[in-house]
Symmetry: C2
DNA sequence: TTATCAGTTAGAGTATACTCTAAGTCAAGA
DNA sequence: TCTTGACTTAGAGTATACTCTAACTGATAA
């Protein structure tokens, strides 16, 4: 049981973003005190942790919202939920592959600056 | 020497995006025919290829524009250019690491659907 | 010569994902 | 009681990266 301030600090996500995530359904509704103030429990924190991880990997909010929606509809949506995860896994694998290619290209270019371009420039002085 | 239509097709980048990239300086100015029509040469195509790769890895346009700007200022900017590449390489490495973590988490969850959640649900029928 | 078609521009519009603002509520300490 | 400070909401604003629109030009085929 934690306040929005505590959760915001713990996960380094702004309070505005935490409210936004709840509003759009990226996480299920957070329990509230009698006066309407958010009181995050274990489950809510688990969702936040998951979404922080997924979002930091660039997984689209849209797909994650669908996942949460299905989750709240109950057990019988398990297969559909798994399908979403598989789709996103494939997309992510692809992205990582492309990024690895760019990383290789960057490293190649950096090496050329070190071994060719900068030495040549220095010699000319 | 190629038209914008050919280059657009070759790299699967819309003509609008090619013009946009040139306008904001993500690629150096493309040679023009006497009537002002773009006539892409080897160099221009090389820049497009590079930027397609960098952008598909999510490298910020801002940093790439700075790189192109320095490149056009001449040889003496080599060190500054290399610094940009190194910064972006470090950012990219970090991103790949985070994405790999998310990928692992996704695969773990998918496995749980296959081995626990879905079988449990099927048994209950 | 006229229409068609690919090209040109500036600038407005869109999608995604926040981020901020204004106006208000509620509980606790001075 | 008053004020302070953390919380609430709806809705407007922002950043990034395109994407589209309108209006125009210039070369070529009928």
């Amino acid at each position: 049981m934690a306040t929005i301030a505590e959760v915001s600090k713990k996960y380094d996500i702004s309070q505005a973003t935490l409210r936004y995530y709840e509003k759009i359904g990226l996480i299920p509704p957070v329990p509230r005190s009698k006066s309407g103030i958010r009181d995050y429990d274990e489950k809510s924190c688990g969702w936040i942790e998951l979404m922080k991880c997924m979002r930091s990997a660039g997984i689209q909010i849209e797909a994650l919202i669908e996942y949460v929606k299905l989750f709240q509809e109950g057990e019988h949506t398990a297969k559909a939920r798994k399908d979403i995860l598989v789709d996103q896994r494939d997309i992510l694998e692809d992205k990582i592959k492309r990024m690895q290619e760019s990383l290789d290209k960057l490293n190649y270019k950096i090496d050329r600056y070190d071994t060719v371009i900068i030495p040549k420039m220095e010699k000319r002085r």
